[in-house]
Each structure stands twice: as C-alpha cells, then as structure tokens.
Amino acid sequence: MAQEGLNPAADALPAEGWQGIVDDWATDKQAFYVPWGKAMMWIFLLSDTFIFTSFLTGYMNVRMSTAVEWPNPSEVFALTFFGQPIPLILIAIMTFVLITSSGTMALAVNYGYRRDRYRAAALLFATAAFGTVFVGMQAFEWTKLIEEGVRPWENPMGASQFGASFFMITGFHGLHVSAGVVYLAVVALKVLRGDYERSGNYEIVEIAGLYWHFVDLVWVFIFAFFYLW
C-alpha cells in the first residue's frame, strides 16, 4: 500500500532569499552537495584549527607571563652569509617552498579532474617533495638552535619558554607536514596506478589537497605569530 504520497519537504520548489538559504541547509538527504569524505575533511580541519589556535594562544600567554626577556627572533633566526647576518632568511625560504607546494597541489587537483593522471601524479609527487624539503630545512633549523644551546627547558638567550614553544609548535606542525607527505605519496601512487580512473572519481586528490592547503595556512600563522612578532 505504498502510496505515492506528497512529500512537501522533498518535492517543494526552493524558496527565495534567506528562507532559501535556510532551506538549502535543512534540506533532506544532505546539507552540502559534496562527497562524504570532503565534508568530513572540512569538519576535521575545523577541529584541527582549534588545536593550533590553542597552541598559539598558549604560546602567546607564556610569552607574556614569563619574567625573563624574550629573545629577538630576527637575530635568533638569522643566517650568516659572507660575514653578513641575514635575518629570517631560512624561514623565508621555507615559507616560499611551502607556498609553492600549495601551487603544485592546486595544479594536481586540476589535472586530476581532467583525468590527466600522469601529470596529476607528477604534481602530487612534486608537492610531496616540496613538503620533504620543508621538513628537511626545519630539521636544519632545529639542529642549529640545539647547537646554540637552545633546549625546551632552557635557553641561553633568555626565556626558557622560547625553546619550549618553538620546539612544540614547529614540531607539531612538522608532524602535520610529514603526515601530509606520506598521505600525498599514497594518493599519488593510487593516481598513477589508475585507481581513481576505474572509480571515475578524483575527489580524493582534492580532499588531500584540502589538508595540504590547511597545513600551509597554519604555517602562515605560525610564521606571523612566532617569527615576526
């Protein structure tokens, strides 16, 4: 007796204006016209945003609470070339590399949706390579600071919280980048193997891209709040 009943909510024409926006959100089946994985990645990134916000807020708080002077980041993060100290040069290069990787990532998504799987895979590998270079330079920076005596619990240049916050926040971000490199490499291999060709669905590339752009964006904030302040 399954009668073809009216289903006003499912069959009605969309309303206009604000009511239309509300109805779009409250519609049946799904609130956003995106795949499940993409919706989930967005929600995860929102949650992750709160993690990094908490880290940065905590860092700013101890920076204000500590009684000892905070080291000058321009001097600490300077490299000497030909006897001339250049402030923040390594960080500038690292930032440039990471931003560039966002560009290759965007291209990879583009070629993925065009079903050009060799270019997409190559660009994904390039993105992962940029990420690896970034982590490598971060390791170099850690080594330099450790050789200069900076430790999480002490710091010859001033407040001990400088070393603690630095290693904790860049370390946590570096973990994100490293995880992203692995993630991108796996996706690239699957692209190359033609997995998404068979399923006809390159959304995974875009979802991985969301994560990667997020990690880049977080770096911009770390750069601004830790190195420039």
């Binding site: 909510a9 989930m40 929600i43 001990s160």
Partner: protein, 587 residues
C-alpha cells in the same frame, strides 16, 4: 548532470561473514554502539566503586584504616575523570550516538564504518591506559579531576611519577578516538539522511547528539593541547604551566610559566564538556517524554534553537569555574553575565518538557519514570547553578560541598537518569526483548529517592562551609557535630543507591535471557528506528529499500487519526491537514 547524493548511489556496504567481523572487529554501527556501551558501563562501575570507598572514609573516618589519604585522592581523581569522560561522553556519543544516528536518520550505517570501528578500539585502549595507572609505581594520579598544575606534577601529589603521565596520555588517546567517531556522527547527520528527512524533521535525540558532537570536536582540542604541554612539563622540564616555586623546601628549576593558562585551556574544554553530556540527554529525554505522553513535543523548533544556542554559549562561559583562581576580576563580570544568559534557553527547554506533559496521555512506564525524574533532578541542579554563576555568591561557596551537590545533581544524576531511561526505552529494539518492569521500577525509585538523600544534604553542609576533597575534617570549630552525622547518612544512602545499580545489572542479564519478546514497535513510537523490518535491526538496517520520510517525528494523537501515532515514514494522506506539521511552517 544531475547531482546524485552518495546515499542514493549503488555502493558496496561492507559484508561481515565471520563471527569475528560480525561481533568483534565489526564495522556495523549497532555492534560498535553496544561495544561502547558495555565498556563505558564497565568502567563506570569502577568509578562507582571508587565513590563508595570515598564515601566510607568521609562518613566513617578512622574506621576503614586501609583508606589512606594517598588512596583517597586517587579515588577522587579517577572517579571524576571516568564519570565525566569515559562513561558519560562515551556512552552518550559512542553508545547512543552510534546506535541512533543511522537508524533515526534513515541511513544504512555511519559514513565511514571502518573509522567508526577504529574509534571504539582506540577508546578501549584509552580505558586500558587509564586503569593501568592504578598498577604502576606510585599508582594513579591524585591531582583531582581538573589536574591543576603545578601540584599535579610536583613531588608529594599521589601519582606524580607515573599516574599523571598515564592519565594525560589516556586523555590524548581518548580524544583521538572521539575525533574519529565524532567526525562520523557529524558527517552522517549532515550528509547521509534518507529522502524526506530534513534537518527540521529530525528527532531531537539526533539534534542533541549532533550539536554535542560538534562541541566535542571544538572543545577537546584545548584539552589535547593542555595534555601535551603538561606532559612536556612533566617529562622534559619545560615551564609552560610551572612558575618559579618552592617544592618540599627546594627551588624548582622551572620559571615563568602560567598555571592559570592550564585552567583556561582546561575549562575551555571543561565547560563545553558539561553540555557534551547534557545536550544528548536533553534530546533523548524530549523524545522519551513525547512518546510516552502520546503528545507532540511542545515547541519543537524552539527546542532545536535552544540546543544550538546552549551549544554556542557554552564556549563563552568557561571562566565561571575560575572565579577564585586569581584571574582578572573584570573577567568575572563578563563570565557571570554569559553564564546567566545560558539559563534562558535552558529554561525554555524545561518549560517545553513540562508543557509536553501537560494534558498528555501519560504512560508511567519505565522510560517515562526516568524522564520525569530527570526533570526534577535537572531543575534542582540547574537552580543551584544560578547561585554559583554569580561571582559574589560563588566566592564563599567555592570548593565546598555545595559545589559537589550542584554538579552531581545537574551533570551527574540528571544525564544518568536519561541514560537509564534511554536504555529501558531502546532495550527492546537493541535486544528484541522487553526489560523487566518490576525490577526496573525498584531500580528507579531507589535511585531517584536515593540521589536526593545523597545530594540535598550536601547543599546544606556546603553552606555550613564544609570544604570538599578533604580526607578528614578533624576538630574544627565551624563544622558542627551534626554535619558529621549528615555525612554518615549520605554514605549510607550512597551504598543503597549503589546496590540499586546491581538490580539494574540483574535486570539486563535476566531480560536478555528470559525477557518477554518484543515486537518491532512496543512503545508505538513514530521515529524511524522503530520501523525497521527486523528487530533487532539486521546489518544494513533497512532491507532492500531505504525508508522515506514524510513528516516530523512527533505525530502523536493526531486529531482524526485512528491510531494515536503516525510513523515518520507514512505518507501524508489525502485530506490530511499538512499545515499542522511543524516542518512545513513556511507555508
């Protein structure tokens, strides 16, 4: 090209075929829900036992000599932590969230079943790590459930060696587990509902669980970060939370850290956590009241907006836990204001529950008893919250038994009342058998009256000024002899209530084995989970065809209809007045 929702595409649902993939490494949301429930209740019984040990010491000091101050603080800490996080959060979201979301939304499963399965096993790991902390050198931490530094990681606090580390690690693992589950719950509600199931037709249970999960995803990060920072402070000697201080007569190596920072991070998690526990309870109790009063829920839309408003406000009230912490006094003004504003949407909900009962056809069966009990305990707990939300009233009451009475009433007893109501309500669907009514009623009355015998006197001794968390009160002028007598009474009541929980366990075991067989919709309820082709629902929930929804979840006692309920998947009949359906109010 027309967009096809994923739920409508042909895609392969994982097919369990062996015993192990069906019942142990299962990806079925219903099995995962039961796994969550069993572990959460199990660890909750541990916490119940710990509370009894504490009560024995407070009620009868000097009698039970095996209870040392050292143990006492460990019990306080672990009891609180288990009850708030490993029992209530896990049971509401991991248990009922998992069971109800796909069934009530008309989905076959969560959107990512494998991740859902991992969520449970990681949760189990966090419980094991937590319990393991009792068996390491120095035992579990005794820092109090708020784990405030510096004392939490200084020599002299129980478990400062290993216990605190295992506690923090266990919390971090729990957060990972919760995130994996929580992403599933939110995405399933947003993206995998069946045809016709609009957001404004969803049962309030799903709304409560949905908003609570969003709160969890945004609040747990602060605890995660605080845990990492405290582990670093403890393990490698950083000074995030540690100022320069004297410990046991010696200056520590730490300098310049901020203990208040921890409190801010902790309560930025801790206050939303209260609502992570409360919102699912609000939602579920709305459905129980409506179903068993055979009446639509009063003010359905306002109930939803109240849930959303409470969720949003819960992020801007955290420092009302810190009036005596030494933070800037102006903060107190702001946070007292926001705290009192929360009373508005909360009061809307309470009025709507009462108005739902008003002139309803009330069936006083088991779930309904617990639901009505909840209204009582929640109003009492909520009213004392208004006292504590005001800075000037809070200052003398801080850290007294008044606070203990308040939060046990509002976020201990009240959600637990709903949990029991929910277990009795969905027991027939989960197991296919009815729970025993007589045992359940004994369980209810002992628990309901017993909790009042426990927590009402606590308000009184709190106003006398009796401080909480003390192992022994000794000879003090401001605590009269009678207060010690009250404490004995509380302890005896606590033992009685704990015994009542054994009745519950016996009831579950007996009903599983010998209970009356339930038909598919014993409560004559409207929501989708009662319309499944099989009871208990089989893997995939709906048989070959997904259900379709035509109406909101509260069509009870519709005028002109023969039955007193119309399930959500029954089409609107020709001539049926569709205007009264709240979901279509725009017309």
């Amino acid at each position: 090209m027309a967009y096809v929702a994923i739920a409508d595409r042909d895609h392969h649902l994982h097919d369990p075929d062996t015993f192990i993939t069906k019942y142990i490494w299962s990806q079925d949301h219903k099995v995962i829900a039961i796994q969550y429930g069993v572990v959460a209740i199990g660890v909750g019984l541990v916490a119940l036992a710990l509370s009894l040990l504490m009560r024995l010491q407070i009620g009868f000091p000097d009698v039970f000599t095996f209870l040392t101050p050292y143990n006492y603080y460990q019990y306080v800490t672990t009891h609180g932590m288990i009850m708030v996080i490993y029992l209530l959060t896990a049971l509401f979201l991991g248990g009922f969230g998992n069971y109800l979301i796909p069934l009530m939304c008309g989905a076959r499963d969560m959107v990512f079943p494998y991740m859902n399965m991992l969520s449970f096993w990681v949760y189990l790991l966090s419980v094991i790590v937590l319990i393991a902390s009792f068996f390491v050198p120095g035992g579990a931490t005794g820092a109090g459930w708020t784990l405030y530094p510096p004392q939490a990681i200084l020599e002299g606090t129980p478990g400062a060696d290993w216990g605190i580390l295992l506690m923090l690690v266990s919390l971090a693992i729990f957060i990972v587990a919760f995130t994996m589950g929580g992403l599933n719950y939110v995405t399933t509600v947003l993206q995998a509902r069946c045809r016709g199931m609009t957001l404004m037709r969803m049962p309030l249970s799903v709304w409560g669980i949905f908003v609570a999960t969003i709160l969890g995803l945004l609040a747990f990060p602060a605890l995660f970060v605080a845990a990492i920072m405290m582990v670093l402070d403890r393990m490698i000697g950083t000074s995030f939370f540690m100022p320069a201080l004297l410990s046991l007569g010696e200056t520590t190596a730490t300098t310049g850290g901020s203990p208040i920072l921890f409190q801010h991070l902790f309560w930025f998690f801790g206050h939303p956590e209260v609502y992570i526990v409360a919102l699912p309870a609000f939602g579920i109790v709305s459905d129980l009241l409506s179903t068993h009063a055979r009446k639509n829920i009063f003010g359905y839309r306002m109930m939803i907006w109240a849930i959303v408003a409470i969720g949003a406000l819960s992020f801007v009230v955290w420092a009302h836990h810190m009036y005596v912490s030494g933070m800037n006094p102006y903060f107190g003004f702001f946070f007292a204001t926001t705290t009192l504003i929360i009373a508005v949407p909360t009061a809307i909900k309470v009025y709507n529950w009462v108005l739902t009962l008003w002139r309803g056809d009330i069936h006083l069966n088991l779930p309904m008893l617990w639901a009505i009990g909840f209204i009582f305990t929640f109003i009492h707990g909520g009213l004392t919250g208004l006292f504590l939300g005001n800075v000037t009233v809070d200052l003398p009451l801080s850290d007294t038994y008044f606070v203990v009475g308040h939060f046990h009433m509002v976020m201990g007893v009240s959600p637990v009342m709903v949990l029991f109501g929910a277990i009795y309500h969905w027991f027939p669907k989960i197991t296919g058998r009815m729970a025993n009514d007589a045992l359940g009623k004994i369980h209810f009355w002992m628990t309901f009256l017993g909790t009042y015998a426990i927590y009402l006197p606590m308000h009184y001794i709190g106003i006398l000024g009796m401080p909480r968390r003390y192992y022994d009160y000794g000879q003090t002028d401001f605590i009269p002899e009678s207060a010690l007598g009250v404490n004995q009474g509380i302890t005896i009541a606590a033992i009685v209530v704990a015994t009542a929980q054994l009745i519950f366990l016996i009831n579950v075991a007996w009903s599983l084995w010998k209970g009356k067989h339930a038909d598919s919709n014993p409560w004559r309820a409207t929501t989708l989970e009662w319309q499944t082709p099989d009871t208990p629902p089989k893997h995939g929930n709906w048989g070959p065809k997904l259900p379709e929804v035509y109406r909101w979840a509260y069509d009870y006692s519709v005028p002109g209809d023969d039955a007193d309920f119309i399930p959500q998947n029954h089409p609107i009949q020709p001539g049926e007045e569709s205007l009264r359906v709240a979901g279509e109010s725009r017309k």
